[in-house]
């Protein structure tokens, strides 16, 4: 079961513990890349830090806003399946706090923002 086949809710650090062993989408600003390149830390809109672990070491230096899709491990780290950097050179700057507020809203009103597998024809 690929992480990419299931719905993955957007979360921030404070929600990691509720999503252990589940697929999530985590968005934050890259803080520090481990010297081995196999993991890096990200800061979310609330200023909290999470660790992202990769299957293969990074080939380039990572910085800026990154969106990671992966599973949350028992230890609360995100085992990344994919990640993508948001371009900061184009368009309006990304407002991480505003994003965090939106994520909070999504989780405060699950009845309006349900996470379901889309029924396919």
């Amino acid at each position: 079961m690929s992480v990419l086949d299931v719905p993955r809710p957007r979360i921030n650090c404070s929600m990691l513990s509720q999503h252990i062993n589940r697929a999530v989408c985590f968005l934050g600003r890259v803080e520090k890349v481990h010297p081995t390149g196999k993991s890096f830390t990200v800061v979310d809109g609330e200023g909290k830090t999470a660790t992202v672990e990769l299957n293969e070491p990074l080939e380039e230096e990572l910085s800026g806003i990154v969106e990671v899709v992966g599973m949350v491990s028992n230890k609360g780290a995100i085992m990344a399946a994919t990640y993508n950097l948001l371009r900061e050179d184009k368009g309006a700057s990304f407002d991480l706090e505003l994003y965090n507020e939106a994520v909070t809203v999504i989780h405060d009103f699950p009845q309006h923002y349900p996470f379901q597998v889309a029924a396919s024809g």
């Binding site: 309006a92 407002d95 505003l98 507020e101 939106a102 809203v105 405060d108 009103f109």
Partner: protein, 601 residues
């Protein structure tokens, strides 16, 4: 007949009882000099007597018709106890019912003794006017004391006061001034001083200046002519407190002023104005603030006092008036706790010197309300602008703004042309147009929405307009190579293409047909009218392509809606005033705020 024993003691101590039954022992007329007579009354409750009752002048007829006569029994229905500067108390009788007339009563009930509240100022003899300090008039049941409600906008009719003997060095409230009493002194702050104005007519020349004085009880307009201008104009400084005495009072000419007082004062040869050192408890200003949200309910041209947070402020601009005078102008957005924002225009030096940084609290006295853009305010020459005034309303606003107000967008009462004055927008969803019956009122309604274009009518979107600079009237094709403009009354060999684009826009809830004129149409289509006109005539495919590309784009639309009636049929007409790309951050913030607000309800 049972009298209410203990009532005299209670009244003397300022604790008015409930409708005490008293016996009138004595009533004495005191000539009022310039004004109506006053009646001094001695009352008994069977236990004590008290001679410091005064009949309010509206009840003089009771004494004159001998309804109130020694020995009659009455119920004191309404009264006010005033404490004089020397500690003595005077009970003003405002309403009294005679329940047993004097002739029906045998004599004095009980054996009352004069009540003394420790002051030993028992007066049985006729009071000599010279020894009686002035009584203060009342606003209904309110005792006039210091520490008055600062927002007193209502003015009670002043009751005639007994003459203040001996030069009247006791200070009386402005609210008590009237033409019938001449010996008074007020202690007031100057809130506004005009410049010296001169005139010259067949009867001669003259000069005058005017000012407004304020104290805890109210305000009054004061004018000085000729010699008084020389005597007082330079002495008086706005914001300072003065003792003023011996001015002439007359009925106010409300045409020239919005000051809330039935009377106004004129300085004369006997007037004296002396600076007062101890001024801290005289209020700075007398304002009757109207909530910004209420301005919609006021008539245009009304004069109002407002107070609010200066949410936005524009750069100062200069414009030339019809009389070719150059004048400076600046607009600011004022918001209060009603959540509504109104545009305020400042002029001249006030506009130039204004510093709106830091969102100051702005109070304006006597601002002029206009229906420009819906509702807007102007600080005219007779308005007083105060920045961060030292009044409780200002502190309340500051506290509210710091806690919640700063996060609010505020709904603007003023529709500004060409781009909002920084965040004053009335956001609506398209369904609201029908649900809230926008445009159904006397005036058009303005709102802003985010919507997607779902249809553009490309047929007849272009018309041939007069090529003159400021004329956009449709020209008539004379079929001879000439085009006639009826408005300019001229013929031209050419025309300019202009756009009137009919579009349907939609959001999650509803759709709306709107008309877009030149600027907004060009913004939506991404091409100018001239080019489109050319395309239409030469390359239809390319012309169609423009419309294809423009379809399904989302914008921020600012619209004007009005109900219009054609031959018994009423329809809402919506016009697009401005089109802007969506600011997603702004939109997200608003959505989150709406969600949170809805959740809290």
């Amino acid at each position: 007949m049972k009298l209410t024993e203990g009532a005299i003691a209670a009244l003397s101590n300022g604790n008015g009882g409930n409708d005490p039954v008293l016996q009138l022992v004595n009533i004495r007329k005191i000539e009022g000099g310039n004004g109506p007579a006053r009646f001094r009354v001695m009352m008994s409750d069977g236990q004590h007597t008290l001679s410091s009752f005064m009949l309010s002048t509206q009840l003089n007829y009771l004494a004159e018709e001998s309804k109130l006569a020694p020995n009659c029994i009455c119920i004191l229905k309404k009264h006010v106890t005033n404490i004089l500067k020397d500690g003595r108390r005077v009970v003003i009788i405002l309403e009294v019912d005679v329940i047993k007339s004097a002739q029906d009563v045998q004599g004095r009930i009980g054996d009352p003794t004069p009540y003394s509240d420790g002051q030993n100022k028992v007066q049985q003899s006729a009071p000599v006017p010279a020894s009686r300090p002035p009584l203060q008039p009342q606003n209904g049941n309110e005792a006039v004391n210091r520490g008055f409600n600062r927002d007193v906008g209502k003015k009670a009719p002043p009751l005639a006061m007994p003459s203040t003997p001996g030069g009247g060095s006791k200070v009386v409230p402005i609210a008590s001034l009237n033409p019938y009493q001449s010996k008074w002194t007020i202690r007031a702050r100057v809130t506004n001083k005009s410049s010296i104005r001169t005139w010259s007519n067949s009867r001669g020349d003259g000069k005058l200046f005017s000012m407004e004085l304020v104290d805890e009880s109210g305000e009054i307009r004061v004018t000085g002519f000729n010699q008084e201008v020389d005597k007082f104009f330079s002495l008086i400084e706005v914001g300072k407190v003065y003792y003023v005495t011996k001015g002439s009072l007359k009925i106010a000419n409300k045409q020239y002023t919005s000051v809330k007082n039935d009377y106004e004062m004129t300085l004369n040869g006997e007037t004296s104005i002396i600076p007062c050192e101890d001024s801290c408890d005289v209020p700075m200003v007398q304002c009757d603030f109207v909530s910004i949200g209420d301005l919609e309910n006021r008539d245009k041209d009304a004069i109002v006092d407002v107070i609010g947070v200066c949410k936005t402020v524009d750069e100062v601009t200069r414009l030339t008036t019809k009389s070719n005078r150059e004048v400076s102008k600046r607009t600011l957005g004022l918001m209060d706790m009603s959540g509504k924002v109104v545009s305020v225009t400042l002029w001249g030096e006030e506009a130039e010197k204004f510093d709106g940084s830091g969102q100051p609290i702005i109070a304006i006295k006597a601002a002029k309300l206009s229906d420009f853009g819906g509702r807007s305010l102007s600080a005219s020459f007779s308005s007083t602008l105060m920045i961060n005034p030292d009044i409780p309303e200002a502190y309340k606003l500051r506290g509210w703004y710091d806690k919640e107000g700063h996060a609010m967008d505020g709904m603007s009462l003023t529709e500004l042309k060409g781009g909002s004055g920084g965040g004053n927008t009335n956001w609506k969803a398209l369904a609201d147009v029908k649900n809230e019956h926008l445009g159904h009122g006397d005036k058009a309604d303005y709102f802003t929405c985010i919507a997607t274009i779902v249809y553009l009518r490309k047929e007849n979107c272009l018309y041939q307009a007069c090529p003159s600079q400021d004329c956009n009237k449709k020209v008539v094709d004379q079929q001879n190579g000439m085009f006639r403009c009826e408005k300019c009354d001229k013929e031209f060999p050419n025309f300019k293409y202009r756009l009137i684009l009919s579009a349907n826009i939609a959001d999650y809830g509803d759709n709306q047909w709107v008309t877009c004129f030149q600027e907004s149409a060009e913004a939506i289509l991404g091409q100018n009218a001239a080019y489109l006109g050319q395309l239409k005539d030469s390359n239809e495919v390319a012309f169609d392509e423009v419309f294809q590309q423009a379809n399904f784009n989302t914008f921020v639309f600012r619209n004007r809606v009005k109900l219009e009636t054609y031959n018994d049929e009423s329809r809402i007409k919506a016009t697009v005033l401005d089109v802007k790309p969506v600011d997603h951050k702004d939109y997200s913030k608003r959505l989150i705020m709406s969600i949170r607000k809805m959740a809290a309800q």
